[in-house]
Point group: C2
Chain length 290, copies 2
């Protein structure tokens, strides 16, 4: 029997371990650090087996999945670089990829690291919130290094399929980080910025779907998102500056009561949104499901 | 049999007419302007009866509900001011209240106008998208004038109950407009501003739930939102300026790699979001359902 080692059983790691149970002829071993996570993971049946000692498992692990926070992933790669099994596949789940791929460059030859980002999540963290269906119909982004083997990429796709991801997107670490700055990190900056308004606690009764949707992700983990934001500072600050400038343009048009300009700006954005909705609807039809 | 006249059968008016059918001993009459809306409303059974001539219906209408766009509501009040039945209840569905209440001040004495805002909607408009369940568990905001009768307020609450609104919130037009600038209008400014980014069409495959949620309302009706924004300019521009400033603070902390400041800001906002989630959960238990 082959072995998958999932290092770190939080929301993502716990969900992945559960989702991967029964995959081909692999045993799923979960590595935890706290007694509380151990107890909870055992009660939930989160893995075939649990351990406090990843170092002892690494030499026999055919697949290693790193599910700690960004600093934890980078530290694990450094601490255990010489314990990985030659020929094994290592992948991670970090929301930034350039910094992680740089750390993985220091692994020995023959250890195949493929950067991954399962675009799934919740506003709550920890094993208690993990569930095997978390990845259903979400994107699984993959940033293979130049030496990634076709065999490992195929294995990764089979795992993604088993976990019910909606699709697998291959790209470069740099492109991933630019796109994620826009589609994910900026949405979190917006959500926390909206929640910093004095009226947050007095607006009850006036909130509709758009307010709930926009602020949903504000209940984030401050330590983890501090890491994610600062590890992707150039791309994210560029996106934030563009957003500030555009909100400022809308504000100016409203202040000046310039209805023609405002209407033209709104029509432009609304058309773009409708076009992307249509493109995505078409894309869904033809997208390979793996 | 008494009569409710619903003037304007778009998304909101059409949904209200459908939801109100069967309410007590009222006939629901829908006033439309285009042949296309007439045909669609008839096919959907949107009202007990349809008309192209609201002027002929007004003298016999006990309740009049104005469901046009903001300029249409204000124009209707001016055009028909002397046709309303003495003692009738008139209410509207406009997303700004101060400007509408001012226009309603010119109605004859004995016509009881109560400003309303059903906080329901969709990203698509028109009778074709109307549905009687649109208001289920949403807020129904009411801004009564100083001369609103208790009898009419009670009638309004019974209608809200019949339409399955989650609650009825009474407030002033000024307070409504401040709160809506924050909870609704600002969310629409954010959504269109995000969609104006060059990467909108290249980010497919990288978008998660937060991006879909935040941009959902960008496919808005430019003419209507131009009216809503400019009719509420002072409150909205204040909210937009505060948001710009806060995003700028996050950007500066990230640019400076000031992790301590960033972490403190994120912890502050995240705590606020968690507190408001808890307060809302408690509030739901005690809120009268009407």
């Amino acid at each position: 029997m082959k072995k998958i080692l999932v290092a770190g059983l939080g929301l993502i790691g716990g969900s992945l371990a559960m989702a991967l149970r029964g995959f081909e002829d692999f045993e799923v071993v979960g590595a935890v650090r706290s007694q509380a996570t151990f107890e909870k993971a055992r009660a939930m049946g989160a893995a075939d087996r649990l351990t406090f000692d990843p170092a002892a498992e690494l030499p026999g692990a055919d697949v290693v999945i790193l599910c700690q926070d960004p600093a934890g992933i980078i530290a694990f790669l450094e601490e255990h670089r010489d314990r990985f099994k030659p020929g094994c596949l290592v992948w991670d789940v970090c929301g930034v990829k350039t910094a992680v791929m740089e750390a993985a460059n220091r692994l020995p030859r023959g250890v195949d690291f493929i950067g991954c980002h399962p675009m799934a999540g919740k506003e709550v963290s920890g094993i208690a919130n993990a569930e095997p269906g978390l990845f259903r119909n979400t994107h699984f982004i993959v940033t293979p290094g130049p030496e990634a083997t076709a065999e490992h990429l195929d294995l990764l796709r089979r795992m993604a399929d088993w976990c019910k991801f909606g699709d697998v997107i291959e790209t470069t670490p740099e492109r991933h980080d630019e796109m994620i700055a826009y589609t994910s990190q900026l949405m979190h900056i917006i959500a926390v910025s909206v929640c910093d308004n004095d009226e947050l606690f007095s607006c009850q009764g006036f909130e509709g779907g758009s307010f709930r949707d926009c602020t949903r992700v504000a209940a984030l983990d401050p330590a983890m998102w501090t890491q994610l934001f600062t590890l992707n500072a150039p791309a994210l600050t560029k996106m934030a500056a563009a957003l500030e400038a555009r909100i400022h343009q809308y504000r100016t048009a409203i202040e000046n009561n310039d209805r023609e300009a405002l209407r033209a700006m709104l029509a432009h954005a609304s058309d773009r949104k409708k076009r992307i909705n249509l493109e995505r609807a078409r894309g869904d039809d033809v997208r390979p499901s793996f």
